[in-house]
């Protein structure tokens, strides 16, 4: 698999470390924080199709990327810096 790092260009998947989907860190101040954190850490959706996920360019620029990937075909539909694309 090849990932188009916005900083380094298209690179082999072996340079990257996978993290998981782009679930946001819940607000720790809410009343049901423990449930929300539990769900964010353990209960992940596994959609058959495009998936927004975090990859770390460990052997490159050390950027965290939001990669959109079709998990059925491994087709990479796009990649953006997490600092910019965190919406």
């Amino acid at each position: 698999m090849r990932i188009p790092c916005p900083f380094c260009g298209e690179r082999d998947v072996s340079e990257f470390a996978y993290h998981g989907d782009t679930a946001k860190r819940p607000d720790p101040a809410t009343d049901d924080g423990q449930r929300r954190f539990f769900e964010a850490v353990y209960l992940r959706d596994n959609p058959a199709g495009p998936h927004r996920e975090l990859w770390y360019h460990a052997q490159g620029c050390r950027s965290w990327l939001i990669v959109t990937r079709d998990v059925r075909t491994h087709e990479v539909l796009g990649a953006a810096l997490a600092t910019r694309g965190a919406a």
Partner: protein, 992 residues
């Protein structure tokens, strides 16, 4: 018999001026440059080359290509001996040695052939049925016996003396296969200027053009291939890799290929690799991998002398070898008639063309008549007979049902062709059945791939050339290159009709999978017993599971199953292929990464000094760290380590701690950032101070510990454990970039930029006074415990931290790594008068256990801060990663195993890490398990072994006695639970 007796007087692509000597099973023969081992053996009339996998049936050479299932040999001798190599792909080299496999004591007299009499035991599923009972017999009796009786070649058992390489390459268009279609594609795409790579398994490009007599653009096919190869070689944008198999298709247009750099030599030249693993990234690929000829399933079809029809043409036309003297051809397709014609023209007596079809094209019959070859239409071969040298006669059943014997020593068979489409399926795309082709053909394809020629079902030469040209053009255009239209190379359309037929009922063994000895009876048995899907058929009978992945056999087995179960080929489908499409040595995938080069070794700047100081080293992650420094007369490590601990605690010692991770954290929000990643506060840390901190994962478990020093309001230096340095960096970057990108903070790893030495012991301050002089004040008032300071020392920036892992008065001094060697030598020199010694990681470990400091054994991914006695550090005033889930009920259960110290009741007893903690008198059961020993050490100060353990409610149970139970190593030690701090609980030494 004359040597080389089957060689034609002229012709072929061999170089008759270069004679090559080789041996097979210890006998010497000769061949020519351009021969394969198979062609040279046939030239020398060697027809029996191996014994089959299960039944030890005599087997000969069946094909002329990489699909060969029978002629597997052990190649080369000694450490280079390689089992299961296909004689049909081994280029002949001078001095080649090969041996037949799976026979004892010799190929001709094989004791294992008795398996033939036991063959009812070896039918499909025999593993599951015959040896079910008694169970204990399986491992001790049956399996070793089967392994001896059945099998392939032997590995050398020695280290491989050759080297292997890995290389990455990028191109616009990758063309897989250099036959007619591949060459046409390369020519069309290459002329556009696109970057082309052309990979072909053979040593010479051309594919079937080198074995058939058809013409292209008015010249013999082999000549045309030479001519095109020369043109391609002249193009700077084209790279040709011959002897290179593309074995796998991966995501993102990535292809794996294996180049056999020096397999065609007796041994590699100096500094030359044996094989090279290519990882090729291509924008487009044209697959032109050709087709594989299908055997016919009839009784005795595995006898030496029964060969594939196109393979026979290869031997005749490419290698100028007659594989027999009296031949017959058995087929159901037009293509094999060419074999009969070529045989007749080469002077071989062709006694019959036996065609399953009732009618064939008139021009074929006319040519047969012209060459005086008798033709039997609607006829079949029902049986073969033979002797030690293989085939002697066949039984022919004519259209009128009468049978007749026909003495022949060569039977060329062909049931038509199957596209070699394995590479189209590697990403999960299924081929489809085509009635028109009577074959599975590629359907959906991997992104960027197109298929040309026989691999796409275009079995005729003219059509293959047209497809190659069209798809080569399209691929180059798709990558942005303009093509000046040129006509496809021209060839005549030859007859390629066929009628599919798969098998004949037979009273004797009719083989489907020759390499795995799967017969038509096995497939019938699988059908009777309900293993009817192609996937179950494969696993129950092992059809297609040999090293050839069923290249010649899958289709026949599937077709027979379809027929037996009344389904169509489209309904029954085919099994999928996995990479590698052709066997690849693990050594080639590893490349240079083997033995001590398996991964890079990281050395600290002080490594050379440590070597000179007689250090023994231990791997810590990728680093090598000094484990201890033995002195003359010390014969065991415990003596050395205990002496190092005593010397540090009584005098002063120095330890290289450069491998600890160091992360520079800067920015106006640096303090806020660290507050969010550590359980304790860092924004309140004064400048010039260091603080111990613990990081959690978001699930609430401890990830790592270390210190952070503050050198300016917006500048911290964080330290991590050696093992977790990269993981912590990734974690912090995640926090900075993903969780809180709005914070003004920057991170950089400076682990390798700084050398750092821990100086510990009562003499540490005097040593530093001597070392640093007036440069920096190291008095307790100026630099109290946990103080830190930056300064310039001998024109070099330096840092001094007053921290301690050993519990002694301790400092860590850091200098830029290029001065690391000078620094350790200066420290040793300044420390000489104070009795300084270097100490290693073992002594460091002993001292941290004596002080109850946790390390990797305790921070093991299952422990919370509270488990480690660090619960009070968890701030109540702020949020931080892991805070919320650390307060889950399961992580705050008071029964959780928590850190304690252990003292053996018998002071001579040895403790063992990993032992389980049981109440005295409790049975050793899982229910009674109350925790486990994490770390142990021999304490020189106390004179006995001590340990750290995680025990349920441990801190409340100091003084209680338990068992440390370790049945694996015969350990059962009574211990007392004590405080984990064994030495100087008040910290007087630390603050001294």
């Amino acid at each position: 018999m004359m040597p080389d007796s089957n060689r034609l007087a002229s012709g072929g692509l061999i170089d008759r001026s270069k004679t090559i000597g080789f041996s097979f099973d210890g006998r010497s023969y000769r061949g020519y440059a351009g021969d394969t081992l198979a062609s040279a053996l046939l030239a020398n009339d060697v027809r029996l080359v191996g014994r089959s996998f299960k039944y030890h049936r005599p087997r000969g050479i069946m094909t002329a290509g990489p699909e060969e299932p029978n002629a597997l040999v052990e190649l080369r001798a000694g450490a280079r001996r390689e089992p299961n190599t296909r004689a049909t792909t081994i280029a002949l080299f001078d001095g080649l040695e090969a041996w037949s496999q799976n026979r004892w004591p010799s190929l001709r007299y094989d004791v294992g052939a008795i398996n033939w009499l036991l063959s009812p035991l070896f039918v499909a599923g025999f593993y599951y049925k015959t040896f079910m009972w008694p169970a204990a017999f399986w491992e001790k009796v049956y399996e070793p016996a089967i392994r001896r009786a059945a099998g392939l070649g032997r590995a050398s058992g020695e280290a491989d003396p050759d080297t292997y390489e890995k290389i990455n390459a990028f191109c616009d268009v990758l063309i897989i296969g250099g036959g007619a279609a591949g060459l046409a594609a390369a020519l069309a795409a290459g002329r556009s200027g696109a970057r082309i790579m052309l990979c072909d398994e053979d040593c010479t490009l051309g594919g079937r053009l080198n074995s058939d007599l058809g013409e292209v653009d008015g010249r013999p096919g082999a000549d045309w291939a030479r001519h095109v190869t020369a043109e391609l070689e002249a193009l700077p944008n084209v790279r040709i890799l011959s002897r290179t198999s593309v074995f796998g298709v991966y995501d993102g247009g990535t292809y794996g290929a294996l180049e056999r750099v020096s397999d065609h030599l007796a041994e590699p030249q100096p500094h030359q690799s044996r094989q090279r693993y290519w990882k090729i990234v291509a924008k487009r690929a044209v697959l032109a991998s050709g087709a594989i000829e299908r055997p016919i399933v009839f009784g005795g079809n595995d006898r030496p002398g029964v060969m594939m029809a196109a393979g026979v043409r290869s031997y005749l036309n490419r290698y100028a070898v007659k594989p027999g003297r009296r031949a017959a051809v058995y087929t159901g397709c037009d293509d094999a008639w060419t074999t009969a014609f070529d045989l007749a023209r080469s002077g071989v007596t062709v006694t019959a063309i036996i065609d399953h079809r009732a009618t064939v094209a008139p021009q074929l019959r006319a040519e047969a008549t012209r060459l005086a070859i008798p033709v039997h239409l609607g006829a079949d071969v029902t049986q073969t007979r033979g002797g030690r040298r293989g085939l002697q006669a066949i039984t022919l059943r004519r259209a009128d049902g009468r049978e007749q014997g026909l003495p022949v020593d060569l039977l060329a068979m062909s049931a038509g062709w199957s596209p070699h489409l394995a590479l189209t399926t590697h990403l999960g795309h299924r081929p489809r059945w085509s009635e028109a082709h009577a074959a599975f053909v590629p359907d959906a394809l991997p992104p960027g791939m197109s298929v040309a020629g026989a691999a796409a079902g275009a079995f005729g030469l003219a059509e293959a050339l047209r497809q190659g040209t069209a798809l080569g053009t399209a691929a180059a255009e798709a990558t942005g290159f303009a093509i000046t239209a040129a006509p496809a190379p021209r060839a005549d359309d030859e007859p390629i009709a066929l009628a599919p037929f798969w098998h004949l009922g037979s009273s004797s063994k009719a083989f489907i999978d020759f390499q795995h000895d799967v017969t038509s009876a096995d497939v019938a048995l699988a059908a009777r017993e309900g293993f009817r899907s192609v996937e179950l058929l494969k696993r129950y009978t092992t059809l297609g599971m040999a090293t050839d992945q069923g290249k010649t056999s899958n289709i026949n087995g599937q077709a027979m199953m379809a027929e037996l179960t009344g389904r169509s080929m489209a309904e029954i489908g085919t099994t999928m292929f996995r990479a590698p499409a052709t066997p690849v040595a693990i050594g080639a995938l590893a490349g240079h990464h083997r033995g001590r080069d398996f991964r890079p070794t990281r050395l600290t700047a002080g490594h050379g000094w440590a070597e000179q100081s007689n250090a023994s080293f231990v791997e810590a992650g990728a680093w090598l760290r000094a484990q201890w420094f033995a002195q003359p007369g010390e014969t065991d490590w415990l003596t050395t380590v205990s002496r190092e601990v005593r010397d540090v605690r009584s005098k002063v010692g120095v330890c290289d701690v450069s491998t600890l991770g160091k992360i520079d954290v800067q920015g106006s929000d640096a303090g806020t950032f660290l507050d969010r990643v550590y359980i304790n506060m860092f924004s309140t840390l004064p400048v010039g101070k260091t603080r111990y901190g613990v990081m959690l994962r978001e699930d609430g478990l401890v990830m790592d510990d270390g210190t952070a020093a503050r050198f300016a309001p917006d500048h911290y230096v964080v330290s991590t454990t050696t093992a977790n340095a990269a993981k912590v960096m990734q974690h912090l970057e995640h926090a900075r970039q993903v969780l809180w990108p709005e914070l003004d903070v920057q991170l950089v790893s400076v682990t390798e930029q700084w050398s750092q030495y821990s100086i510990a012991g009562p003499g540490a301050r005097q040593l530093l006074d001597r070392l640093l002089g007036d440069v920096v004040d190291v008095s307790d008032a100026a630099l109290p415990y946990l103080g830190c300071v930056e300064f310039t020392w001998r024109d070099v920036p330096a840092r001094l931290f007053r921290v301690s892992f050993s519990g002694e008065l301790g400092y860590e001094i850091a200098v830029p790594a290029q001065y690391g060697d000078a620094a350790i030598r200066a420290i040793m020199e300044a420390g000489a008068e104070f009795g300084i010694i270097p100490y290693g990681t073992e002594a460091l470990g002993v001292m941290r256990i004596e002080k109850g400091h946790v390390a990797g054994n305790e921070i093991n991914g299952t422990t919370t801060a509270a488990d480690l006695g660090l619960g009070r550090m968890m701030s109540q005033k702020k949020d931080y990663i892991g805070r919320v889930l650390a307060h889950r009920p399961g992580l705050t259960d008071p029964d959780r195993p928590t850190l304690v110290g252990l003292r053996p009741i018998n002071p001579m007893a040895r403790l063992r890490a990993g032992a389980h903690m049981l109440a005295l008198g409790a049975a050793p059961t899982t229910e009674n398990d109350e925790g486990y020993v994490t770390s142990i050490a021999f304490s020189p100060a106390l004179g006995h072994w001590i340990g750290l353990a995680l025990v349920k409610r441990g801190p409340a149970r100091h003084g209680e006695r338990m068992r440390a139970y370790d049945p694996v190593r015969d350990g059962d030690t009574e211990v007392e639970l004590v405080s984990p701090v064994f030495i100087d609980p008040q910290g007087a030494r630390l603050h001294g």
